[in-house]
Amino acid sequence: MKRILLAALSLALAGGLLPAAPAGKMIQIKGSDTMVNLVQILAEDYMGKTPGAAIAVLGGGSGTGITGLINRTCDIASHSREWKPKEIEQAWKKGVTPKLFVVAVDGLSIVVNEKNPIDQLTMAQVGALYRGEIKSWKALGGSPKPVSLYGRQSNSGTYVFMQEFVLGNKNYSADMKEMNGNAQIVEGILQDEGAVGYVGVGYLYDENHRIRKGLKVLKISREPNGDGFLPTDRAAVESGAYPVSRPLYLATDGRPKGDAARFLSWIVGPEGQAIVEREGFFTIGGGKYKASNDRNFQ
């Protein structure tokens, strides 16, 4: 994280101090902490291949990025949730017309300790767990251990996504432990046999690209008697059969032009998508996301 900030800072400095650089203007990208690693790696790779391109990437949370685009303090906002109606309204008021591009798909995975006998849950059950309506794993057919909830903090796009998408816009249980990042949730679950947590798929693997020892990723089904799918199943995420998946966006003010347009079309192209996959996210595939991207480029 620090390394990324430092890189972004030095880029920002370099951009500010060297106005003679051939590219002219630097592209500022701000927003989602879930996406900051991915976007930074995409930017570094793109800059390595494109002489003169200058891109600075900052985190801060999806809300920060969207506010940045509305207030014109960044050129591209990265966000892992949809725009709220209030934000769209603010954007229109300021004459900003956001154009959204899906650059990757994130499968949020529901994870428990490997000692937990449960393998599959429905969306409704996950929601009930996080609303605090189910206090013991026994109610779900597990061992009589108390449920201990792990989640992100309210400044995280993942927190908001879960709340809207899985909890049905209801309050989180007040007993949820609010951890300072995906990695801390994983640390918590590894120690806690009654734990359940939600993290991005990128955080499930160890350095050998295997699921970390001590974690169990749950199958999730949309309907009570439906088939469950794993977030690590590419086909299930891309087809939308895995229910807890979400598109990750980069948004511009109006149709992208110049450097920003070239960078965006490189990301959704084969080279960018190969990096997306390598970083543990899912590619956008050839379906509805590609269609909406193509529409917004024109």
Partner: protein
């Protein structure tokens, strides 16, 4: 004659420089207080004061209904701090007494700098230790599911406030006039009796001040508790429940709260509550310390 005049001028300039430096700290303090006050007060246009201090549910970003009840966080902060003091005060005073009265010169010369280095460990590092080391250990010890609770925060804050408590207590023990202990020893009291019945009472106000400064440190610490206590919003049910302190809440939410909204003002109101608490503690420490110095004169 001319030389004298130049010297006078120099004197005046130096005097003015020191006066400005001295007054600067006061101005900064007043400035911070006024800014805090001005940004905190608008919160109460929408949040009734009774609700802010009397309700225990805090959820400003709730999709159902925004709630601004600070009670659980005040309780959590006090709980974690009280736990920290319970651990740090006996240990701190014992170490101070050991350093001033028992330890051989050589041990003292090593131990004192070590204690002072302890104060320099960054709070994130202490917090990380709480997350991966103390947490699992506490979970095993108390047979709880996890160790992200108030007790974990208390232990870490105790570690962080120990240097302050030890170092100031030791100074005040050393400041007890030699005649006191010599008289006590001459009357046939043992070294233990001299320490407990003569030196500690004589140094008491200094020790109280040390404890209060340690307390101020513990109340205001953020990163450590943010990482180690789990940050659950519910009202604390004891030292083994996961708690969210006021400092942790500000750190979590301030980055995301849109400017000039009730949420934003409410976070500054929490800041004001914290400021008043630490200010009161520091002021009390100062008063106690002054009384002690006057008596010694």
């Amino acid at each position: 004659m001319r030389k004298k005049k130049r010297n006078d001028l120099k004197e005046a300039a130096i005097g003015a420089f020191f006066f400005t430096s001295g007054i600067l700290a006061v101005l900064v303090l007043i400035g911070i207080f006024l800014t805090l006050l001005a940004t905190a007060v608008p919160a109460f246009r929408e949040i009734p004061v009774g609700k802010f201090f009397g309700h225990s549910r805090w959820d400003p970003t709730s999709p159902e209904k925004a709630e601004y009840g600070l009670l659980s966080m005040i309780a959590s902060t006090l709980l974690v701090t009280a736990g920290a003091l319970l651990l740090a005060v006996p240990i701190g005073i014992a170490v101070a007494a050991y350093l001033s009265d028992v330890a051989p010169w050589r041990v003292r010369e090593v131990l004192k700098p070590v204690v002072e280095i302890l104060a320099g460990i960054p709070s994130v590092v202490v917090g990380f230790l709480g997350l991966v080391l103390f947490g699992p250990a506490l979970a095993r010890l108390f047979h709880t599911a996890n160790g992200l609770n108030a007790l974990n925060g208390s232990i870490l804050l105790a570690v962080m406030s120990l240097p302050t408590i030890i170092s100031i207590s030791e100074d005040s023990l050393n400041a007890v006039p030699k005649a006191y202990s010599e008289a006590s020893l001459a009357l046939g009291a043992s070294r233990w009796q001299t320490l407990v019945r003569v030196k500690l009472p004589a140094a008491l106000s200094g020790i109280v001040a040390a404890v209060m400064l340690g307390l101020g440190r513990a109340i205001g610490e953020t990163m450590t508790v943010l990482m180690a206590t789990g940050n659950a919003r519910s009202f604390p049910r004891g030292l083994l429940s996961s708690v969210r302190t006021m400092t942790a809440d500000i750190a979590i939410e301030l980055g995301e709260a849109p400017y000039f909204t009730t949420h934003y003002y409410a976070l500054f109101a929490i800041g004001l509550v914290l400021f008043v608490m630490t200010f009161a503690v520091n002021l009390a420490a100062d008063v106690v310390l002054r009384r002690y110095q006057e008596r010694e004169r």
